[in-house]
Symmetry: C2
Subunit: 144 residues, 2 copies
DNA sequence: TCAATAAAGGACATTTTTGTCCGAATTATA
DNA sequence: TATAATTCGGACAAAAATGTCCTTTATTGA
């Protein structure tokens, strides 16, 4: 569904949000540890998130990654997915046709439209804050 | 969503079904031409489909691929997807966690369950026959 | 100012996916 | 029986995704 990079990216962003709620800025090493991901690869992904204004990065001692409380509401999953995987998941054709649409549909088009729309809606409506609070309360997990 | 191999596999299977409805057995070359896919790669995928009893293959002159009318009903998309991509798409965790379930859910678990279930249901309920007939009537397309 | 800390960035390595090539096996038909 | 058409199977090639390493840059605080 999502690429590995995107999975790590979402998990990392949620962890950063959770810690920012506690007022803590976190390092790549801590993030990778807490979401169980390869450190250097995670660092690359965090750079992408930072460049796409999804999280903030601060260099130097006491540096790390963080996200403002208001951005947690503004940043929806769709923004993260688009930044890392592009939007082909919920825009492209299920069978890989370039020009698949209601006028010239692939055999799966109609059946796919609903699922794709549900997925898009879910990603566009789910904020980082929402996901972070579930974690905060101990209802959800980011590892294993 | 699906791998390229799986996209080609579904398109190939639908084309074989369509031609079998007309009583024609088709070659790899014709299939690749009609679904706009790389020939040799498509040949490998057809082998997989054949080994998984999704389509039949016949060697030698006048040989090619075909599928029985009754198998078109029995073969659902889920069988093709499982044969090529495995069932991780609609079974695995959206964020890549190995042990994600209702007891120990990832932050996206609840929101993903519905979409994943819809996808699984759709794949399990859609037969090759159904897809082939849409093509036959000229309502859908396999190229571009 | 200097040392230590942390992200940024580039080069490289590994693995997986996608794709190609070619000879072997099978079989219809002349 | 010989030939040609076709799939099968293995080895190889290329591209993309995943992952690592090391140097540079920025910044803090002693």
């Amino acid at each position: 569904m999502f690429s590995k990079a995107c999975e790590y990216g979402i998990r990392a962003a949620v962890y950063v949000a959770l810690q920012s709620l506690e007022g803590r800025r976190v390092s790549v090493i801590e993030i990778a540890e807490e979401i169980d991901s390869p450190i250097a690869f995670t660092a690359k992904i965090l750079q992408q998130l930072s460049k796409n204004d999804i999280i903030n990065s601060v260099k130097g001692p006491t540096g790390g990654f963080e996200i403002e409380r208001e951005d947690m509401d503004a940043v929806k999953l769709s923004k993260i997915v688009k930044a890392i995987d592009g939007d082909n998941i919920y825009v492209g054709c299920g069978l890989g046709l370039r020009e698949c649409n209601a006028d010239k549909p692939c055999p799966l088009h109609d059946k796919f439209v609903d699922i794709r729309t549900d997925l898009r809606t879910m990603l566009q409506n789910t904020s980082l804050f929402e996901l972070a609070t579930g974690l905060e309360v101990g209802l959800t997990y980011l590892k294993r």
